[in-house]
Amino acid sequence: MQEFLQQVVSGLAVGGIFASLALALVLIYNAMGLVNFAQGEMAMLATFVAYALVNRGMSYWIAFPVALVLAFGGGIVIQRIVIRPVERAPILTLVIITLGLATLLNGLAGFVFGYVPRSFPSPFSAQSADVLGVFVSYRDLGVIAMSGLVLLAVYLLLQRTTVGLTMRAAAHHPEASRLLGVQVSWMLGLGWGLASAVGAVSGIMVAPILLLEPNMMQSIIIYAFAAAVLGGIESPLGAVVGGLAVGVTINLAGAYLPFVGGDLQLAVGLAIIIAVLIIRPNGLFGRAAVRRV
């Protein structure tokens, strides 16, 4: 039982990481009906930026917010330069562009930082605490707390502030929003910035576990897709619940199903995507797609 609970807690920790990246995917999906295949690579690049800052002697707790601010700005720049010119293009065009963007950012990171895996600092001690008889590592607790804070901040921004309200309005009904005075295109820019910053959190949290290199996020993005699909691709809450569920599932599968082990965990993530799309395409929190003709 004790070991089971420990597996669940570390599942929640990786789940929080998936949840951040899944939330980033959901934010952009809600804003423009687009799955951003470059989200993972954007997070990876932001993590390299944090790495470079820490390497130059900046304290982790300063480098972390600075990297998020830079990721936010970078997201806006990408929306303005790469996405905005093709905003009205067919969705397939946009998907291909995000795939191209992913390749470009991956190559850029390799060009600048190289492909040698680097160890990334974790601010949390590697020791464990005894919580009611269950040994939980401070790292897991720290990752859970950080992810929780970020998700809470995004929730408050979107639900409790005027800018969040206008961002939701612009995503929901661009034409009507425009006539109510909303600058829809800038709201999309803010959406990309926000998604980029939220995604960056997942990169910075996962880097101490996986080692930092340009391909670091390529498995994480699969889990994030699984989380977003499981939660219902339009639901921010679903992304969080989906992320935690996927994290716990792959961790338990890795620990208790001998044939899965550490090697087939990614296959479990992919199986979740396929199963959800077959059994419940709208996910746990999604609404059935009904269109008025």
Binding site: L157, T161, T162, V163, G164, L165, T166, R168, A169, H172, H173, E175, A176, S177, R178, L179, L180, G181, V182, Q183, V184, W186, L190, R292
Partner: protein, 254 residues
């Protein structure tokens, strides 16, 4: 003294189809003007040009004597124009209050940075804005339902929410696209009473598109009739009802 809204020689083409053909008319401040005509006459197209959704092939639209064709769609509201839509364009997953608050956000003078950080000034502006929004929701008679999501509410209520959202920006000119369309007979009288109050109590000038003739004749000071993109008549409701061209457009030539 120029009219509040003046449409001058306005033409719109979609490919080979002429949707509007050199249409001119004016709306003076304080008036209620109705735009009528058979389906496809170009009424909604005209609304869409005024609110900068479509670009005209020729002609101008003046508000207070200044052209609105040079400004961007999100700036239209700052010239005192607001509109409602034929099929209701609400933010369906949001509450009634949030929908109306979006309509108010241009009135809140803080920029997006202040809007995202809860500073004291922004908090005060936001509570003033909530108060205005709630007043408008009360005005359209939906006060008790302010916190409900709009998606589940009846269509007639949704139209009133859209009206509140348009009114909260304190427009001088309100464009109403079929305010009595798609609602029950009993509700039509309610809407008519409500719009009269908007006109009298809030002093809003109105241009409305409507098919419900009793409604149009009851509320309008003047009526403009379009048929196949051309203006075929203009006058008081009584004059228009006697006009031969109008009768032929609606009933077909004898």
């Amino acid at each position: 003294m120029s009219a509040l809204l003046e449409v001058r020689d306005l033409s719109v083409r979609f490919g080979g189809v002429i949707a509007l053909d050199r249409v001119s008319f004016a709306v003076e401040a304080g008036q209620v003007v109705a735009l009528i005509g058979p389906n496809g006459a170009g009424k909604t197209t005209l609304f869409n040009v005024i609110t900068r959704v479509y670009r005209p092939a020729g002609g101008t639209v003046l508000v207070d004597g200044d052209s609105v064709l040079a400004i961007r769609p999100h700036q239209v509201i700052r010239r005192g124009l607001a509109r409602t839509f034929q099929n209701v364009a609400l933010f369906r997953s949001m509450t009634v209050l949030d929908n109306v608050l979006v309509g108010d956000h241009t009135q809140t003078k803080s920029g997006w940075l202040q809007a995202s950080v809860p500073l004291p000034g922004a908090v005060a502006a936001e509570s003033a804005s909530r108060k205005r929004a709630l007043e408008m929701i009360d005005f359209v008679g939906l006060g008790p339902h302010a916190q409900r999501p709009v998606a589940a509410l009846p269509f007639g209520w949704q139209k009133r929410i859209e009206l509140a959202r348009a009114l909260v920006s304190r427009p001088r000119l309100l464009l109403l696209d079929e305010p009595a369309g798609g609602i029950s007979h009993e509700e039509v009288d309610d809407v008519s009473r409500l719009l009269r109050r908007v006109h009298k109590e809030l002093g809003v000038t109105m241009l409305l598109v409507e098919h419900h003739m009793a409604f149009v004749m009851g509320i309008s000071d003047r009526v403009v009739v379009l048929d196949f993109g051309k203006k075929i008549a203009e006058g008081t409701p009584a004059e228009v009802q006697r006009n031969r061209a109008v009768i032929e457009a609606y009933l077909g030539a004898a």
